[in-house]
């Protein structure tokens, strides 16, 4: 399947950058004729993945985060990578309401799953985490 466009961004693990990554993801996704609520859902999924990298991956310590975005004929692919502390048990982490931090809601992965068509999480303790999300679309109009 031919790739039509690609953009990747690498940024410091800082909460300010979650919003900037969101803007870039919205603008990249707007190549497809989504509706505003659909764009909103994509942004939420991206925010959850990127803020997980900031909060859990690096626990507010310094580190780099990558967001890669690729446009194919009938789907968009978003990959969020951190080289932080990793997840001990991915299956458990993806359960609704499961969080390692008592004050958090544990719904990040639930949002990613419900707003994207596919999500794949790979992680290794002490090495980092990769979250790959796929959003499909019917039409192919490109701006």
């Amino acid at each position: 399947m031919a790739r039509r466009n690609r953009m990747s961004m690498t940024f410091d693990s800082r909460s300010e950058n979650v919003g900037i990554a969101r803007v870039a993801a919205a603008a990249f996704s707007a190549q497809i004729e989504f509706t505003l609520p659909e764009i909103e859902e994509i942004k939420v999924a991206i925010s959850e993945a990127v803020s997980n990298a900031v909060i859990h991956g690096y626990s507010d310590q310094e580190g780099q985060i990558e967001l890669a975005m690729e446009l194919y004929e009938t789907h968009l692919e978003y990959t969020v990578i951190d080289w932080g502390k990793g997840i001990a048990d991915v299956e458990q982490a993806r359960q609704p309401a499961w969080s390692t931090e008592p004050e958090r809601m544990g719904l990040g992965f639930v949002f990613m799953e419900s707003f994207m068509d596919e999500i794949e999480v790979t992680s290794a303790l002490g090495k980092g985490t990769t979250v790959r999300m796929v959003k499909k679309f019917d039409a192919v109009p490109i701006h």
Binding site: S15, E16, V18, G19, R22, V23, A26, A27, S29, A30, Q31, E33, F34, T35, L36, P37, I39, K43, V44, S47, E48, S51, I55, E103, R104, M105, L107, G108, F111, P141, H143
Partner: protein, 77 residues
């Protein structure tokens, strides 16, 4: 929810200039107007066309009036 919203707004670190807010309002009005005439949710392209703006500027203007991090993440604090 109202409480959370107010908290987010008060705590929102981004100073949104008035014209960005006005643009966001215009985008939402165009969205509603098109929804009425098309009988379905308009696409970003249709909204951008109505406003003579690039699609990227439309989605970026909407982001600028929102808090930086996810409301889901913030509402737990």
């Amino acid at each position: 929810i109202g409480e959370i919203r107010r908290f987010i707004r008060d705590d929102n670190p981004i100073k949104v200039s008035r014209s960005t807010k006005e643009l966001a309002l215009k985008i939402h009005r165009t969205q509603e107007k098109l929804q009425g005439s098309l009988g379905r949710e308009p696409t970003v392209g249709e909204i951008a066309e109505g406003l003579l703006l690039p699609v990227q500027e439309v989605v970026a203007a909407l982001e600028a009036v929102q808090p930086t991090t996810s409301i889901y993440a913030q509402s737990t604090r």
